[in-house]
């Protein structure tokens, strides 16, 4: 018997939920992702090319979203910045969930000393305000796309471990796990074949939420000047740059802010939807 056949009984019908509240966020995220992936082949100016005479120009037909403080094309920078946000936003939680998931599942399955150790470890990581820990990590690892991703990935370990631990505990005492154990399946086999498929949906829903949290965190790091290093565009960095010209060229800060807002809002919408599908009990919150 495959464990993946065991599913929560009350999955809400999907068709009813396909309203504009789902289509619009999905379309926006798809657009941002599509542009981020195809940016190199699109007829865009170099996002780092400066044209100082044309700095802080408002949106026009040549520069659809205007130019920034150094006369760089905002549209191009927004699209390449989206690439940065998506790379960090997708990879960091993935890394965190790989390690956190392994810790959480072992803790929830083996219990006892393993559990105690894992919970202690999580408690200590949680004892740091997230952003402060991220700042410290990045400052001492050095600023690069990889290090920012790594630091934010480490920070998503505790949350991932908690979700997977709670879910594993809920599944570990079910009859099909007992059945698997009775026919002599190894712990490794039970964890990967019986429990993992059941824990994955909850992890996926949580991962979606984590993506938007991490995009915000990356934005905050870049905003503070401790994220992705300078010439490479990042939405947070663009907002920080635009702050200096709020009085003369507000679009330099407001456009990246709007793009980031729409992306995070869309991801939150999608995350909520998936979480309601996976765990109907939480939908009231």
């Amino acid at each position: 018997m495959s464990a993946s056949a065991v599913r929560p009984a009350t999955v809400a019908p999907v068709g009813r939920r396909l309203s504009w509240a789902i289509v619009l966020p999905l379309a926006w995220v798809a657009l941002v992702a599509f542009l981020a992936v195809t940016a190199d082949w699109l007829p865009l100016p170099d996002p780092a090319a400066q044209e100082l005479i044309l700095r802080r120009k408002p949106p026009s037909t040549t520069y659809l979203l205007g130019t920034d403080n150094l006369g760089r094309d905002m549209l191009s920078r927004i699209i390449y910045g989206g690439r940065t946000s998506l790379i960090v936003g997708i990879c960091a939680p993935f890394f965190g969930f790989l390690i956190g998931g392994a810790i959480g599942m072992s803790a929830g399955y083996f219990r006892g000393k393993v559990d105690l150790l894992a919970v202690g470890f999580i408690d200590i990581l949680l004892a740091f305000p997230t952003l402060v820990l991220a700042l410290t990590f990045v400052a001492y690892l050095g600023q690069s796309l990889f290090n920012v991703t790594l630091a934010l990935g480490i920070l998503s370990i505790p949350a991932a471990a908690r979700v997977s631990r709670a879910n594993t505990m809920a599944w570990a005492n079910r009859d099909f796990v007992l059945a698997a154990r009775t026919i002599g399946a190894s712990n490794w086999r039970i964890l990967t074949r019986e429990i993992l498929p059941n824990v994955l949906p909850a992890m996926f829903a949580f991962w979606l939420v984590a993506v938007s949290v991490i995009i915000v965190a990356e934005g905050a790091l870049s905003f503070l000047g401790l994220g992705i290093p300078a010439p490479q565009p990042s939405w947070g960095g663009m907002i920080a740059d635009g702050r200096e010209a709020l009085d003369v060229a507000p679009h330099t800060a407001l456009i990246p802010a709007a793009v980031m807002f729409l992306t995070v809002l869309s991801l939150n919408f999608l995350g909520d939807m998936v979480r309601n599908l996976v765990d109907p009990r939480r939908s009231s919150l």
């Binding site: 004892a127 997230t130 990590f137 690892l141 009085d247």
Partner: protein, 317 residues
């Protein structure tokens, strides 16, 4: 009492691990402090001399326990940039950060409680849906973005409030509040959303209880049922969430202090990071983490005082 002793022991262990971890991050990770301070042109002798001055040539654990020993007596060392004692630097800037966080929290609670109460009067009604969507919108707004928008709206466009800078209390209460209101709003306007959602959900659960039915049957007006009967038993989760969110608030405060140029602990930490001021960063991060752990500990205690059932359920595991 046995229970309390165990909690205190747990607190001590967490504090120990937290400071040790901070020490490890700051010391193990690549990037040589001596080179960072003296620059690339320094001679190897100079570098070795500075390392000896800073005690960097001794084994790490020895240095950690040295640091811990003095930290326990309130000495966090001296910044090797400014020469200022780190503990003094933190103490000087702490009031600003505390004021910021308290004002933000007051704003958040001041919006969240009325919004939740009005929402549950008619769940699914116009106000409920309106406040839910507003909350969802603010939830997608990072504090650094909100800070910029507030500056744009209130300083640049309306010219009502100063964009940056801090006026201490000594320059008058109004001048002080004027410089703090936008920073506090940048945090509070985001924080209330979480509180409102939690309180609303708990209120809805409480309103299904028998004693609420009784209160209604006695003919009490709806607002009295809400305020006097439903609010208190519904606020336990709210208190926990306020405690848990302080971590987010501290992170937010770092950003907001930077945006509005407020001389708080967050800005001290950022300055330390940019200047590679090892001892300053070590001291500030440890201080912030310890403060966060302590606040959560106190919230747990408060929770137990308010609801005695908790002592037997929550802390057993």
């Amino acid at each position: 009492m046995h229970w309390l002793a165990r909690q205190v022991l747990r607190l001590a262990v967490v504090l120990f691990c937290v400071t040790l971890l901070t020490f490890l991050i700051v010391n193990i990770l690549p990037g040589d402090v001596a080179t960072a301070i003296l620059g690339g042109l320094a001679t190897p002798e100079d570098l070795a001399g500075l390392r000896a001055d800073l005690g960097l040539d001794r084994p790490m654990l020895v240095r950690y326990f040295d640091w811990l020993g003095s930290a326990l007596s309130g000495d966090l060392g001296r910044s090797h940039r400014s020469g200022e004692p780190v503990a003094q630097a933190i103490a000087d800037r702490l009031p600003v950060s505390l004021q910021l966080m308290i004002m933000a929290q007051v704003i958040a609670i001041g919006i969240a409680v009325p919004a939740a109460l009005l929402s549950v009067r008619r769940p699914g009604g116009l106000f409920d849906r309106l406040s839910a969507s507003t909350a969802f919108g603010f939830l997608a707004t990072p504090s650094f973005m909100l800070g910029i928008l507030l500056i744009y709206l209130f300083s640049v466009t309306l010219d009502l409030l100063p964009a940056t800078g801090f006026s201490p209390m000594s320059e008058g209460l109004w001048a002080n509040l004027e410089s703090m209101i936008l920073p506090a709003l940048s945090l509070g306007l985001i924080e209330w959303t979480v509180l409102m959602r939690v309180l609303r959900s708990d209120l809805l659960t409480t309103l299904k209880e028998d004693f609420i039915l009784l209160a209604r049957a006695k003919g009490l007006p709806p607002w009295r049922v809400l305020l006097q009967h439903a609010l208190r038993p519904s606020s336990f989760t709210l208190i926990t969430v306020i405690g848990l969110n302080i971590g987010g608030l501290i992170g937010g405060a770092v950003i907001v202090e930077q945006i509005f140029a407020l001389p708080g602990v967050g800005r001290l930490l950022l300055g330390g990071i940019f200047n590679r001021d090892l001892i300053l960063v070590q001291g500030t991060v440890s201080f912030i983490a310890a403060g966060f752990v302590l606040v959560n500990f106190l919230v747990d205690m408060l929770y137990a005082v308010l609801d005695p059932r908790v002592r037997h359920v929550r802390f057993r595991s």
